[in-house]
């Protein structure tokens, strides 16, 4: 039996749970917790796992955690399942994130948690939470524009505002930046280079 929310129920990642402090859920016997609290507690733990390339973002901010649910194992104990999806097919951070989640969950008492891959529906930059977008911008990375890339934009680059001075006088240096999810831009007002988190 599987309980908990599916990706369809929670398209925005976990904004609501982000506001809840982890201190409310001390490490201890979680079997006794109501199902909703237990789940919220796991989302809070995941909310403290940083993305290895953009450490201001948690894996929840990034929208790559697709589900948190429990199944009943062979010995009738409940087993935690956390579904994650890659941002890009070949993103090398995916493996690092998996290990980070496993380690963090183990520290919080979920040593036998199963971290599983979910490919469908594919990750989109629209799943970045509002909180995540704010954190990106204050970190100096322009958050993705809302429109998803399309072949119609074949010969045009989107207008991206500078995360430092907010000028729209920017130019794309390269479609591909320091990680698969970012493009390289330059502001022609304040002259600073910056990263743009691409739409996907």
């Amino acid at each position: 039996m599987v309980s908990g929310q599916t990706s369809a129920d929670r398209p925005q990642g976990c904004e609501s749970a982000l506001g809840v402090g982890r201190a409310q859920f001390p490490v201890g016997d979680r079997e006794g917790l109501p199902a909703g609290d237990r789940e919220r507690q796991v989302w809070n733990v995941l909310g403290s796992v940083p993305d290895p390339e953009i450490p201001v973002l948690s894996v929840v901010d990034l929208g790559i955690v697709r589900h948190v649910r429990w199944s009943v194992g062979a010995d009738r104990r409940s087993v935690l399942h956390v579904g994650i999806t890659p941002t890009y097919s070949g993103c090398p951070a995916t493996e690092v994130i998996r290990h980070a989640i496993e380690t963090m969950l183990a520290e919080e008492g979920y040593a036998d948690a199963v971290v599983e891959d979910v490919l469908s529906p594919p990750w989109t930059s629209d799943w970045l939470t509002e909180e995540g977008r704010r954190k990106l911008e204050s970190f100096g990375i322009a958050p993705p524009l809302q429109a998803v890339s399309s072949p119609r934009h074949l010969f045009r680059a989107p207008v991206v505002a500078c995360p430092r001075c907010a000028s729209r006088a920017t130019e794309r240096v390269s479609e591909f930046g320091s990680t698969p999810c970012k493009a390289h831009y330059r502001c022609t007002s304040c002259l600073e280079p910056f990263d743009y988190f691409k739409c996907l």
Binding site: S89, G90, S150
Partner: protein
């Protein structure tokens, strides 16, 4: 080749479905490996990063496709065994993907032709009756759009650039055009999968690919070469001499130190 080596399973045991996945996965893998050869050698840092990013996406796609092919094959081979322990005749990639990089313009022309092909294939596969393959395609097509924007943008810049850059990309186009017939030449594997609703019929993809390529070539002031008969059969395991050399480098470590990890 010793009898215990699993590197070349007879074709007979691989289903059409498995062979179709190997064709897609091997094309991505071989093209990704070719692009990785540019790392540290590109004309500018931005293009170095760009080609490395494309390579990473392609190898990621190959991993998804080949691990699935390995499961369908049922011989206990995972994506690493398929990538690193097969010989050239067992690779089913399109012949165009294995062609050497040459100069940057030549790499870009090869990339643009294959990006446009992958875009049409993945667009068709999104509706596949094989839901796992449809999921892979839905993921990959978003990346492929970026690839095509990068490669077609460079074809235009180089084609409509200097006399020298124009000459080089036109030469590259003339030389590699002969491999494009294979992209849409359907054989029994393609027909079986199209009939089952797994893969889009290649004949339907050809006009859309052709129109997109014409649009790029026109903008780039390049001339589309004349069509040539189907004579290259990489997707049936018959390769140009270039693939073996590429695999020798790609597979060297796993062949020399089997099972090596780091």
């Amino acid at each position: 080749m010793s009898v215990t080596s699993p590197s070349n399973t007879p074709v007979a045991v691989q289903s059409a479905h498995c062979r179709y996945l190997l064709r897609l996965g091997d094309t991505s893998l071989v093209l990704g490996q070719r692009l990785a050869e540019w790392v540290g050698h590109s004309p500018a840092l931005e293009e170095d990063l760009g080609l490395a990013n494309l390579s990473l996406d392609l190898i990621g796609q190959a991993r998804l496709l080949l691990s699935y092919a390995g499961e369908l094959e049922g011989q206990g081979r995972d994506e690493d065994a398929l990538a690193f322990l097969r010989d050239a005749p067992a690779f089913l990639n399109l012949t165009l993907a294995e062609q050497p990089n040459g100069d940057f313009g030549r790499t870009i022309v090869r990339q643009c032709l294959l990006d446009a092909w992958q875009l049409e294939v993945y667009a068709g596969l999104v509706d596949s009756t094989d839901t796992r393959l449809a999921g892979i395609a839905a993921k990959a097509i978003k990346e492929t759009r970026y690839h095509l924007r990068f490669s077609s943008g460079w074809v235009v810049r180089l084609g409509d650039g200097t006399q020298e850059s124009h000459r080089r990309v036109q030469d590259a186009l003339n030389e590699m055009w002969r491999f494009t017939t294979e992209l849409f030449a359907a054989d029994e594997v393609d027909e079986a999968l199209a009939a089952a609703g797994v893969a889009p019929p290649l004949a339907e993809l050809q006009p859309r690919w052709s129109a997109r390529i014409d649009e790029v070539l026109q903008e780039a002031t390049l001339v589309r070469p004349a069509a040539v008969p189907y004579q290259w059969h990489g997707k049936r395991g018959v390769h140009t001499e270039h693939l073996g050399h590429m695999l020798a480098e790609m597979q060297h470590l796993q062949r020399t130190y089997p099972g090596a990890q780091w």
